[in-house]
Symmetry: C2
Subunit: 141 residues, 2 copies
């Protein structure tokens, strides 16, 4: 299933900005990108897309289920390709590196915590903030 198909099945017409944004995520150089990251990367590659359009497209993709949005510590939110697999994140407070993880026990206990208190769980956000160790950590890229 290619980009074009993705867009169509999401009821979005296939436009240049949308294709560019989508392929940026599918190229896979970096998984977690903010609106501005996307905007700058497009500019850098000679593709002119307005910042407002980037924001719009990212949100449409999220609604359509193509992307997932996260709010790491700090102000700006980041998006990543939705590949069906839910996972949570560990974020390095020094260099910003993000590592993904999934823990079935944690997931299950969250369901339980909600159920026990009479809540119908909708979703959750779990971010672990930490420092990665010397070799991998490049303080402030």
């Amino acid at each position: 299933m290619n980009e074009l198909t993705h867009l169509k099945s999401a009821g979005l017409k296939s436009t240049l900005p949308r294709l560019k944004v989508l392929s940026l995520f599918e190229s896979g150089s970096e998984r977690h990108l903010s609106a501005e990251d996307v905007y700058k990367k497009l500019l850098a590659s000679g593709d002119d897309v307005g910042l407002a359009t980037v924001y719009r497209v990212l949100n449409q993709f999220e609604q359509a289920g193509l992307l997932v949005k996260h709010h790491f510590e700090g102000d700006k939110s980041v998006f990543e390709l939705n590949q069906g697999d839910h996972h949570d994140h560990i974020v390095c407070l020094q260099c910003g590196r993000v590592e993904e993880f999934y823990d079935a026990t944690i997931e299950q206990r969250q369901k339980k915590a909600a159920a026990e208190r009479g809540f119908e769980l909708h979703d959750h956000s779990l971010y672990i903030y930490a420092n990665c160790v010397k070799p991998k950590c490049q303080f402030r890229n």
Copy 2:
């Protein structure tokens, strides 16, 4: 240990705005308050404190360890009294009601997840978004 002592031991001089903000949290009517919540409550009770001061004081209290800051879904952040006990939150997407919980297993598995990947855990944020059931849930207070 009273408010005044709290402030002093935090190296903050005892000013009217600080005492008012602190006692608001200690009065305990509502645990989780945004800067604007605090601002409005003070106005309502006839205490004039500038919004900028509210923001400053809240942040100072957080630095001092008197308050803890959270970022529930949405834009504005909320504060609550730091009573030493760490806990996570379930937030109702309909009415905004917040319930607190602590799950030792979740805490432990987070430590493990970080350690296994070579991170020194600093802290974490876990929010469960859900809908509370009929009796308790008052859609949009």
